[in-house]
Amino acid sequence: MEFYFALATLFGFRILLGLSAYVVILTGQISMAQAGFYALGAYTAGAATALWGWPIVPAVLLGAIVGAVFGFLVGFPALRVRGLFLVIATLAFTEIVRMVFLNLKYTIRVGDRTIGPAAAEGFRGITYYFENGWSSLQIAGFTWLFVLAVLLAFWLMDRSRAGVVLRAVGEDELAASSVGINLTAAKVSAMTLGGLVAGLAGALYAHYATYLSQEEFGVLLASFAVAYPLIGGTGSVLGPIAGVLFFSLLIDGLRFLGDWRNLLFGVLIVAMMNVRPHGIIDVRLVRRLAALLRPAPKRAYAGD
């Protein structure tokens, strides 16, 4: 059981990372900056509990806020660029963050150990959970509190005007702006929200892993953040969850295949995209499900 709680925790921050990329994708953009926000959230929240002795809740919230602030800061200039240009610009941001942490050295003695970000040696000793005797169930519950909150918020947002605005910007910017949607506001808020959620995910990751090292927060993580919603589908907030489940199934579920596991990993992504190019839970599936779940309205045909 212990293990499943740990797994649930892992899924938790992966889903949050996926959701953070999802909200940006809704506006029709691919951002590789999520890994950078994640790293910023992780290092900040880790420093807050391990170095400054903060309790966990404000520390995690601080991580999320730092993510949001950087999301906002990156969102503004990045507005000017689109498509692949934005991909590269945001990738540059992630790499810059990583390089900052490769150089950042700020350690203090706490009791009998030296902890804190130690440049290339990484940030050791983020052991808040264990020091306070949290069980795996508590850790998983704590993580999922945030996951559910974000899921609920996104679910409601999808159903509100805000969600429609974001999707409209994603579908067709020109059309969206011609009906009076403020593109700047939409895009920057998507980016800020994405930063917030990614920072939150990183903060939770830091306490799960107890150790942070810059090499974990590179291009690969950024690609996975985007891959979760793209594989899972962007039709609903359930998409990134499906994506996380898909990847985690490939990573942990195929373990019995031994050496073949990683070969199959790539092949299955290719196969999946061929079978469901718009992701597992795409817009069409969501509409169909919604139609099924709702009492069917009387059909009206054009000829009636």
């Binding site: 660029v81 689109r82 941001f93 291009v219 793209l230 990683n262 790539g266 299955l268 992504i269 190019p277």
Partner: protein
């Protein structure tokens, strides 16, 4: 002359020369992403896989370098075709993110095949010009990188001629801009796409072999950095502009080397990426971009 001046110029030379490897890989990316409008992340890894195939032939036959080169180019062309089949042929044409993800899967797959075949070890790659060093005054110039620069110019010329002077090039541009109209004009969509992928695969093979012999080793460690640097170069040059890719590659090399000299290794990439970010924000279309943002 002072040491500083000598060093700065030496770094300029080194950066310029090493930048030609960025240029070479960037041309491929700009060709695929810009001219042909296909999002193929597996391009760099195709070239590497080709180089590995060449290396396999080398280990079997101990043949001359030219044989290794031809084998690599042929194999990369073939892998290009496989990628077209697996990641593009049956994908919806109006949703480029699907093939993008699929080619990312392909990147992981090819990388892992290589890791399996070689146990992840770096493998020595034949480098006929590996030790050629030219003294130019107080400066040193690497022969193989100089050669690479010339090759990237040649590849640029060949691709330009292909895209703008041949029927295939015309067909390619037609297919990427107006697939339906192109089909109505009697252009075989499948055939043109296959040809395009074989040709770009071969360009990748050229890049893979030359980079392999400049590095001296092949390792799966190369694939992700090459992909990233290739993309950066293509975007910086203005997607779709082949001369732009060359200029961008050389510029990137020079910036990296000067940043290394003045700020040290820890800040080299930071400075480079900061400049890149700033540049893209102030000139969103890249160096030679006509169409802003795509």
């Amino acid at each position: 002359m002072t040491d500083l001046a000598i060093d700065v110029v030496q770094q300029l030379l080194n950066g310029f020369l090493f930048g030609s490897s960025y240029a070479l890989i960037g041309i491929g990316f700009t060709m695929i992403f810009g001219v042909m409008d296909k999002l193929n992340l597996a391009f760099a890894v195709t070239g590497l896989a080709g180089a590995y195939t060449g290396l396999l032939l080398f280990h079997l036959t101990r043949g001359p370098f030219i044989l290794v080169f031809l084998m690599a180019v042929a194999a990369a062309g073939l892998i290009g075709l496989v990628i077209e089949l697996a990641c593009f042929r049956w994908m919806p044409r109006d949703y480029p993110l699907a093939p993008l993800m699929a080619t990312m899967g392909m990147l992981f797959f090819v990388d892992e095949v290589v890791s399996h075949a070689t146990h992840g070890r770096p493998m020595a790659f034949p480098a006929p010009m590996g030790q050629v060093m030219m003294d130019v005054g107080p400066w040193l110039v690497r022969g193989d990188l100089g050669f690479m620069f010339l090759v990237s110019l040649a590849v640029m010329g060949a691709l330009w001629a292909l895209v703008y002077k041949t029927r295939l090039g015309l067909a390619t541009r037609a297919v990427s801009q107006q697939p339906v109209a192109a089909q109505l004009c009697g252009i075989g969509l499948t055939r043109v796409n296959a040809a395009v992928f074989i040709i770009t695969g071969m360009v990748g093979g050229v890049a893979g072999t030359l980079i392999g012999s400049a590095v001296g080793n092949l390792s799966p460690l190369l694939s992700l950095p090459l992909t990233v640097k290739g993309l950066v170069t293509a975007v910086l040059g203005g997607l779709g502009s082949i001369p732009g890719a060359i200029v961008a590659g050389l510029l990137l090399g020079i910036v990296e080397y000067e940043a290394l000299y003045f700020f040290g290794i820890g800040y080299r990439d930071m400075v480079t990426y900061l400049l890149l970010f700033a540049f893209l924000v102030f000139r969103p279309g890249g160096l030679f971009g006509q169409r802003v943002g795509r």
